[in-house]
Symmetry: C3
Amino acid sequence: METVGPPYAPLGPDASLSAGIQRFHARQMHLLDSGEAEAWAATFTEDGLFAPPSLPEPVRGRAALAAGVRKAHEELAAEGEARRHLLTTAAVGDPEPDGSVRVRSYVQVVATRRDEAPKLLLMCVCEDVLVVEDGEWRVRERYVTRDDRP
Amino acid sequence: METVGPPYAPLGPDASLSAGIQRFHARQMHLLDSGEAEAWAATFTEDGLFAPPSLPEPVRGRAALAAGVRKAHEELAAEGEARRHLLTTAAVGDPEPDGSVRVRSYVQVVATRRDEAPKLLLMCVCEDVLVVEDGEWRVRERYVTRDDRP
Amino acid sequence: METVGPPYAPLGPDASLSAGIQRFHARQMHLLDSGEAEAWAATFTEDGLFAPPSLPEPVRGRAALAAGVRKAHEELAAEGEARRHLLTTAAVGDPEPDGSVRVRSYVQVVATRRDEAPKLLLMCVCEDVLVVEDGEWRVRERYVTRDDRP
């Protein structure tokens, strides 16, 4: 019946799971928006996969992930544009047998230029496979789609 | 003093309550936006009441709830429009004596058409009375108002 | 390495911390948007500091805080405009040695006038220092910046 999100037990003993993932996601978006390229890349596993809607092929591995963010952030900074990734409405699944956790969330991308009103640039859906490594949540796979593209 | 939300004990032992409700709400919005009409209707109690701002009378019962979502989703699909309900800023109350929980939250409705920028269509306030049935959170009553209407 | 948010232990025993702060923030925004000036001011410590982007100097103390909100709300009400503060993507830090907790979050300010579409008025970053007083979370310091200003 359920085709749009991960399985979950609504009343399960998962409060610390949800809370930890919420904080992880928030911190990760802040790092991204602040152009902390290496720190952001370190929120993925070493060979983490990121399939953004803007590229024909997924990006894999921290070096490539960091390079992509650094370039994008420099371009935006040159144009005086701030970007924010607002991750909300996160449906956190129960842990899979291998300990990974799937999360489906909505991400608004808001762009603001100096002295202008903010613009809702993109409405995205983000599907993550998260794992714990060294006591930290990390993204093993991330698939992002945008609503304005088929 | 407090007239805009449910009562709550900020430091109470309610983390699992909040986490479970957050996941419930997220999953419910995903079902709605994906047009999973029956699965969405099943997130209400059998005789659940939904008072949306777009109708003169509340909708009651799963069959009517599902029919409404199915029709709306088909119309949007025909027009190639994606809708997202972003539920945020949720003030979760403490359980009432009967076990129900009141939640007041903000819901942005974002509409996106192919190759167009997303639009913030509606800004709504959602007031829920939630109950647990068969180990699942369900909506017994939902009252939604939109800020552009008196 | 981390320059954009508070320190945190992602898997720590902090679920109730995060849940309590999320509820606090939500309730606080609802009070603000409903013009409950005194109740909103009471969510700050007695000498709480609020540094909004719209004023040259921070506001300090509940009386001044309440006066500011009351005036702003009356003006908006006279113009028939509803404002919503959507606080999301909250990176909650671990408790500091003195028990305070730092939180960095994103706040969208949405303005809606009757029969008009809602407008995303401001995209802000909110940095809080929260403390517990009398069993309640309170804001000791709040610094807000908006993305359209340097």
